[in-house]
């Protein structure tokens, strides 16, 4: 669990990214994340829900109940302007971090 902080920040980033294309219910977010990362990241789906709810509390997301494609009641999440700002900030930070690590690994 040493990398929990990293993991949480990363999860938030992934969830925020998943919502950039419009409102999605939780399962769609889970699907998108696991498809995009394929098997590189072993993410538990429950953790993604925690991330969704936590970010809703922080005001980065809003949720409302709606109907899924197959007409079932589902909870849809949507980015708020604050969420968009957070996504921009976090992705920049992440890229900088990744570049730095990559540079270190290359010189070594």
């Amino acid at each position: 669990m040493a990398d929990l902080d990293l993991l949480q920040g990363t999860l938030d980033l992934l969830v925020l990214k998943a919502l950039t294309w419009g409102p999605q219910h939780g399962y769609a977010v889970v699907r998108w994340v696991s498809e995009t990362t394929e098997d590189d990241l072993q993410i538990q789906e429950g953790a993604l829900y925690t991330s969704l709810h936590r970010m809703e509390k922080r005001g980065w997301l809003v949720s409302r109940w709606g109907l899924s494609d197959n007409n079932r009641k589902a909870k849809f999440y949507q980015l708020t302007p604050a969420g968009r700002r957070q996504l921009r900030r976090e992705s920049e930070r992440w890229s900088r971090y990744a570049r730095a690590i990559a540079r270190v690994l290359q010189t070594a």
Binding site: G26, V30, E45, G46, K57, S68, R72, A74
Partner: protein, 901 residues
């Protein structure tokens, strides 16, 4: 469509809305996930297992999500509630801006009411409740009084002799610390800059009562306060150090001339430290050093029990009650008295005078010698509370009128679904907002009013800044909350009780009038309380008139008292006498002086007694206490005291010490009830000395009390007096205006560092009438305030009623009623209400009479003239207040009134 009852079972627990939301969301997830896995060809059991594996800890996550959502929900509720309050506040502010006159009327009314209370609280708190700053555990600290029963009345004396203080400290077991304290005024500095400032002369043990640390240097030690002469060191008061001496740290070690000697400055007391004084002392001096320097004869103060001057303060040991300390102190006092019996001839006898000691509250005004000033001040607190009640009733009335005129608006909002509690909350927020604005105004009024009251009436109350004082500000906040709630509660209840359907159906002109019964009751409350205040004002004004009209036997308004402070300039007795003669002669030569005379005793300040012997009378003392005055020629002309028979004392008689005297009428009656006093022989101080012959009889004068003064007074030539005394000057025209010019002229005669003091005699007399003046002024101000507020209230109720009944008036007039009939109708209703209020008010005043009686002078609290006069005044004001709306009602045009419907 549900394949997974197991999953269902996990989520079946119903823990409220949040829980259900989470469960539904997760349920949707698992349905989708399992369906997908089924599509990929897994068996239903395997798919379920795989879904749970992918998800991780299902129960844990569910709990976590619920917790997060609950906390989010709570936050949102909080924001909503806060948002509501903010919205209500904005709504209230907008409402006030839209009706600025209404808002101003309410704020001013509440401001005056709150201001009156904060002012009186500030004054009374300082007199009676606030312990001295920095004092630790004030509840354990007592002031010691010595009680003596003289002529059947027990008297309490806060002043005692220094040896007595030493005895009581030594011989008590219940006392943890004791301190000697004497509040004095001494001259500071030299030459032109000399000024008289308060000092507190204290024992070294005094400092242990406080949790105060010097901001500079140190406090003095027991070694520096050792009888008989102590060490001349001084601790400066913060304000004096900071303001007058510029707050320099180099002040330590410097010499400062205070009174008759120089003191070495060793420390500065912390800011706000006033010791136990009521005004900030400029310096704290070791009581032994100051007493040795100021009271003459070096250690005389420390020798006998006869020099009674300082007061004693004790801290009881933990767990000791004041009653136990009283018993302990009384035993010590009796023991001390037996020592005194040996040393001093004529010392008070314990068995005759029922001597005892008393551990009383530290604040002098809570002790046995409470002045009538603070009794009046306590009354005024009650009066101020009544003013606030009247103000609240009035504001409640105004708010109610407004609420009634908004009945339809309220009904519409209720119909649209606003909750009644939210509506009541809005109305309360509105009245609290008004009260808060009133509170700010009230603080401003108190800041100003408190200063005036303190300066004019209650110099004993220490000054504290109103705006920054925690106790005053807390009290104001409390007053604001109470006033806001009281004024807002009736309208809030009335409004929210409104029946939607009738209000919506009814026209604006109907249905409102019946509800103003509440307003009538409020009006009667206001009116009766106002009458009580007016009666109080009337009684105090009449007391003051009586007190001022009292025949004093002299004319204080044109007399100045001149005294000299010698400040170390040593003069022989004869040189002092010559100085007094010189000043008297110089004064007589001035064009603004009508007459001047030498005196020794001063009415209400200093009285002298001599033992008198008259042949044929066993003991003159048994006939009463006779006061002596020593005078030069022109004394009776200077004072304006009439010589009823015989001759006054002349300048010549007073210089060559002729054995002549003038007695007062009462004294003549007491000593020679059946004989002519002129030519009688009185022997003074001993019955072996030659006769002093009575040469004249003067009218009685008041010297000790305006109410009960025996008037037993006699006058002897000033040459016979042992002490120097002063000079009385009768000015042409007002004495106060000429005081400074005369002081400057006389100062030129003063040798060395001696300085001349000139006091208008009227200011000494004023002190005697102060409690009535305080009562008369404040009752009048508060009564006038109440009358104004009540009149506005009456006006608004009548005007509102008239507006509501325009239609009815129109009908009456259409049916043949004249303008006069309508006028009578409206005025009659108004006056009936006020008459009820007057009746209740008079009843209340009669009930309260018992308690106010001891504070009055020469007037009965049931004085019919005052009661009738105040009632008539009240009815006249009421008639004037309702005349406007009544005339408006009489002028209603039936045509337009009926058509407006």
């Amino acid at each position: 469509m549900n394949h997974w009852p197991g999953i269902r079972r996990i989520f079946r627990l119903d823990r409220g809305e949040v829980q259900r939301g989470v469960d539904e969301e997760l349920q949707f997830h698992f349905q989708m996930k399992v369906e997908e896995l089924l599509r990929r060809g897994l068996s239903s059991v395997a798919a379920r297992a795989e879904a749970e594996r992918c998800f991780g800890d299902v129960t844990g996550t569910r709990d976590q999500l619920t917790t997060i959502d609950r906390s989010r929900e709570r936050g949102e509720q909080r924001r909503e509630r806060f948002g509501n309050a903010a919205q209500d506040l904005r709504w209230a502010l907008r409402g006030l801006r839209m009706r600025p006159w209404f808002a101003a009327a309410v704020v001013v009314t509440l401001g005056l009411g709150i201001g009156a209370n904060v002012t009186m609280f500030g004054v009374v708190d300082r007199l009676l409740f606030r312990p001295p700053a920095y004092l630790t555990r004030p509840a354990e600290v007592n002031r010691v009084y010595l009680m003596r029963t003289i002529e059947g009345r027990e008297r309490a004396m806060a002043a005692l002799a220094y040896p007595r203080y030493q005895d009581l400290s030594k011989w008590t077991a219940t006392v943890a610390h004791s301190a000697a304290v004497f509040d004095n005024h001494l001259a500071f500095g030299t030459g032109e800059l000399v000024q008289q400032l308060p000092v507190e002369e204290v024992s070294a043990s005094f400092w242990s009562f406080f949790a105060a640390r010097p901001v500079l240097g140190r406090f003095f030690l027991p070694d520096e306060d050792r009888a008989p002469t102590g060490t001349a060191v001084a601790v400066l008061g913060y304000d004096y150090w900071h303001t007058t001496l510029g707050g320099s740290t180099s002040v330590i070690g410097t010499q400062l001339r205070i009174g008759r000697q120089s003191y070495t400055v060793i420390g500065v007391a912390p800011r706000g430290f006033m010791g136990m004084d009521t005004e900030a002392p400029a310096a704290f001096l070791p009581i032994t050093a100051a007493a040795a320097a100021e009271y003459g004869g070096g250690d005389q103060y420390a020798q006998g029990y006869g020099r009674i001057w300082m007061s004693m303060v004790i801290r009881r040991k933990p767990g000791v009650t004041a009653a136990q300390a009283t018993t302990d102190l009384t035993n010590a006092y009796l023991r001390s008295n037996t020592v005194q019996q040996i040393l001093q001839f004529g010392a008070p006898r314990a068995d005759v005078e029922h001597l005892r000691a008393l551990a009383a509250p530290l604040l002098a005004q809570r002790g046995p010698n409470q002045s009538s000033d603070s009794k009046v001040a306590l009354w005024l607190i009650a009066v101020a509370a009544i003013v606030l009640i009247i103000a609240c009733a009035n504001v409640g009335n105004l708010l109610l009128a407004r609420a009634l005129s908004r009945r339809r608006e309220v009904a519409v909002r209720l119909a649209l679904g606003i909750s009644r509690s939210r509506l009541a909350g809005q109305l309360l927020i509105e009245s609290l907002l008004l009260a808060t604005l009133g509170g700010i105004l009230g603080l401003a009024i108190a800041d100003w009013g408190g200063t005036i009251i303190r300066r004019s009436f209650l110099p004993d109350a220490a000054a504290v800044s109103t705006w920054t004082d925690l106790r005053v500000v807390s009290f104001t906040v409390l007053a604001v909350l109470v006033a806001g709630a009281v004024a807002g509660i009736v309208p809030a209840i009335q409004t929210t009780r409104a029946d939607i359907t009738t209000a919506l159906k009814a026209g604006a002109q109907e249905g409102g009038y019946a509800r103003s019964r509440v307003r009538t009751v409020l009006l009667i409350v206001q009116g009766s309380l106002t009458l009580v205040l007016l009666v109080g004002a009337g009684l105090f004004v009449r007391s003051l008139q009586r007190a001022e009209a009292t025949h004093l036997g002299y004319d204080a308004s044109r007399v100045l008292l001149v005294g000299v402070g010698m400040r170390g300039t040593a003069l022989s007795d004869s040189a002092l006498q010559q100085l007094m003669w010189r000043m008297m002669t110089l004064a007589r030569e001035r064009p603004d002086v009508e007459a001047a005379a030498r005196i020794v005793s001063v009415p209400f300040q200093l009285s002298l007694e001599e033992r008198l012997f008259v042949s044929g009378i066993d003991s003159v003392t048994k006939l009463g206490s006779f006061d002596a005055q020593y005078v030069s020629g022109d004394y009776f002309r200077t004072m304006g005291t009439a010589i009823v028979r015989g001759m006054p004392i002349t300048d010549a008689q007073s210089t060559d010490s002729s054995r002549v005297m003038v007695v007062s009428q009462s004294m003549a009656r007491a000593l020679w009830p059946h004989a002519d006093p002129i030519g009688q022989c009185v022997r003074i101080r001993a019955d072996t000395v030659p006769c002093t012959w009575v040469i004249g009889v003067a009218e009685d004068i008041k010297t000790s009390s305006l109410i009960h003064d025996p008037g037993l007074m006699y006058y002897l030539p000033v040459g016979l007096a042992g002490s120097d005394g002063g000079v009385f000057i009768r000015t042409r025209g007002d004495a106060v205006l000429r005081a400074e010019a005369i002081r400057r002229a006389l100062q030129r005669t003063a040798p060395g560092e001696a300085f001349v003091r000139v006091t208008p005699f009227a200011s000494i007399i004023d002190h005697q009438t102060r409690s009535w003046r305080l009562g008369a002024t404040m009752f009048t101000v508060f009564g006038g305030l109440a009358l104004l507020v009540a009149a506005v209230g009456l006006y608004s109720v009548i005007a509102y009623g008239v507006a509501q009944r325009r239609h009815e008036m129109g009908v009456r007039m259409a049916l043949g009623a004249g303008g006069g009939d309508v006028l009578r109708l409206v005025l009659g209703q108004a006056l009936r209400t006020v008459l009820v209020a007057v009746a209740i008010g008079i009843a209340t005043a009669l009930i309260a009479a018992r308690w106010i009686e001891p504070l009055l002078f020469g007037v009965s609290p049931r004085d019919p003239a005052t009661l009738v006069g105040c009632s008539v005044l009240m009815l006249m004001i009421a008639a004037a207040a309702s005349a406007g709306p009544a005339l408006r009602a009489a002028r209603v045009d039936p045509n337009s009134a009926l058509r407006a419907e």
